[in-house]
């Protein structure tokens, strides 16, 4: 497809999308009416900027199914990701959506160098998280042999890798390094493994990490990108030329906007990535703000694909943390502490990396209101905070009590999070 043909296709799909959401999603109809626009005002992708934005808050406010574009009985799959203050972000898929999702994953796997002859070990979590099932359906569509092993139990993972002869590994980059460690702990000869390609995503990872993964696993480590609101993994993926991730722009129309002004800006300058889901039916979205920061590149790629490429995402425009592939908002942590302690102690969230896995720690100052004379009391308080947080966040956390005044105070906005992982 030439660029012109693609633009024409996107324009047709955009007009179609706007008609659909105007008539079947009250949220969008209200928004557009308040802006004084009708579907007829959208004639091509040039008119995209007339349309309103959509944010994670909108999804949360319409929990669970308020933004769906079809009746629930047409939804064949639901997924959810953790949201702030206990409300997950729910996404829904029609049969056609699942087909498109499988297609974009299959394309992603192909661009990473995978074929139907490969054995793909899907070590992303299966369940409400989109990673596992997303890669699974796409790998099946590609015709490869799928090992739906999900995450965890590294010992078993590496034994299966050796015994089954896995050629493609799909998991988070930090889990890949964890598996590398398991391989040496199990005394498995790395050169005896048949690993050739790795498709890693769900969290930011640097080129330094890429080199380490490739060196320790002996495979080509490819970056895959996605978010469940837009579809799941597979929205974009690197090709073997490794000069950016090709966006499946016939389905996901990308934009770069300034996070503060929300105005469209020069795509070669870093800004917030926004997507419009041109073909989705279950949860169609107009100009969804991802909060991920990146640049776009329309120059030609050595691989021959003409789709626009985005740079690797390493930063966000909000305070969301990604811990072992799970989204964590510092505000969730604050609300749990407040609920449990009845007070707002001084606390600090620390993210570090140990043995290649992200570690989330919460440091809480023990002041007059929290201090109890028996260690038993302090321990049980610590344990209840930890349990509540783990339940609310969906990721394990260490809780450490520290002396008063040891956490730095600041004028104005308190610096609540210290991320010691070297991301940049």
């Amino acid at each position: 497809m030439t660029r012109d043909e693609l633009v024409a296709c996107q324009s047709r799909r955009l007009c179609d999308l706007v008609q659909r959401v105007y008539h079947s999603v009250p949220f969008y109809r209200d928004k557009m009416q308040r802006l004084g626009i009708t579907p007829e005002d959208i004639r091509s992708i040039e008119d995209l900027t007339i349309l309103p934005f959509t944010t994670k808050t909108d999804l949360r406010d319409n929990y669970p199914f308020g933004l769906f574009g079809v009746p629930l009985d047409q939804i064949v799959r639901l997924h959810a990701s953790s949201g702030t203050t206990g409300r997950p972000t729910v996404v829904g898929y029609t049969r056609r959506d699942i087909g498109i999702w499988s297609e974009v994953i299959a394309r992603s796997l192909a661009s990473a160098g995978a074929t139907s002859k490969d054995l793909i070990q899907v070590a992303y979590g299966y369940g409400l998280f989109t990673g596992g099932l997303g890669l699974h359906y796409g790998a099946e569509k590609l015709g490869a042999t799928v090992i739906p092993i999900s995450g965890g139990n590294s010992k078993r993972q590496v034994h299966i890798m050796r015994d089954f002869g896995t050629t493609v590994l799909a998991c988070t980059p930090s889990y890949a390094l964890h598996l590398a460690e398991a391989i040496s702990e199990e005394h498995i000869d790395r050169t005896a493994l048949k690993l050739r390609v790795g498709v890693f995503g769900a969290e930011p990872w640097t080129d330094g990490m890429r080199r380490e993964i490739e060196q320790r696993l002996g495979l080509a480590a490819i970056d895959i990108y996605g978010l469940s609101e837009v579809m799941g993994p597979g929205v974009a993926c690197e090709c073997c030329a490794r000069c950016g991730l090709h966006i499946q722009e016939d389905h996901f129309l990308p934009e770069i906007v300034n996070s503060e002004t929300l105005k469209s800006q020069d795509i070669t300058r870093r800004g917030e990535l926004v997507f419009t889901t041109l073909t989705k039916e279950g949860l169609p979205l107009l100009r969804y703000r991802t909060r991920d920061l990146t640049t776009l590149d329309v120059s030609s790629c050595p691989c021959g694909r003409s789709t626009v490429r985005m740079a690797k995402c390493l930063a966000r425009s909000d305070d969301m943390l990604i811990i072992r592939g799970v989204n964590v908002f510092p505000s969730q942590i604050e609300s749990v502490i407040m609920n449990l302690a009845g007070v707002a102690p001084h606390y600090l969230i620390e993210v570090s990396r140990e043995h290649n896995l992200d570690v989330l720690s919460l440091l809480v100052e023990v002041d007059e209101r929290l201090f109890a004379d028996t260690v038993g009391h302090l321990e049980s308080w610590t344990i209840s905070v930890r349990k509540e947080l783990e339940s609310a966040l969906g990721v394990s956390i260490r809780v450490r009590l520290v002396e008063p005044k040891t956490i730095e105070r600041s004028e104005g906005k308190a610096k609540r999070v210290i991320d010691r992982r070297n991301m940049q």
Partner: protein
Amino acid sequence: MRVHQLSVFLENRSGRLTEVTEALGLAGINITAQCVADSSDYGVLRMVVSDPGRAETLLKARGLSVTLTDVVCLETPNVPGSLHRALALLSTAGVSVDYMYAFAAGDKAFVLVRTGDIERTISVLIAGKQKLLGDHELGMNYGVRVASSEK
């Protein structure tokens, strides 16, 4: 018959204990009994000092988290079986012991105990003819606060 014991929250890093002992020493406050209950990241330092009110104020001024707890001080002969006699009284009366720390020298032994019910502890031990020492008997100067902060 109560003893006002100080508890201080300390992180498990070097210099924390000596910060406390230095502060008390400089202020002319004597330590009668001391014990550290440890867990991996922190410890609770418990002390019976000559002036708990002043000690509490000055340690708080140093930014430490301090609380006062009522405990009982039992004086018992330094012979086998004497501690057991006292503890058996509490056990029979259904009083639970939270923690205790003790030391014997010469012909006497001193035991500091925190229980779930201080009033009942005092009445049970006195009824059982046990000897209890309060702030006054331990030579402590206590006049600043009336009630301790029980959690």
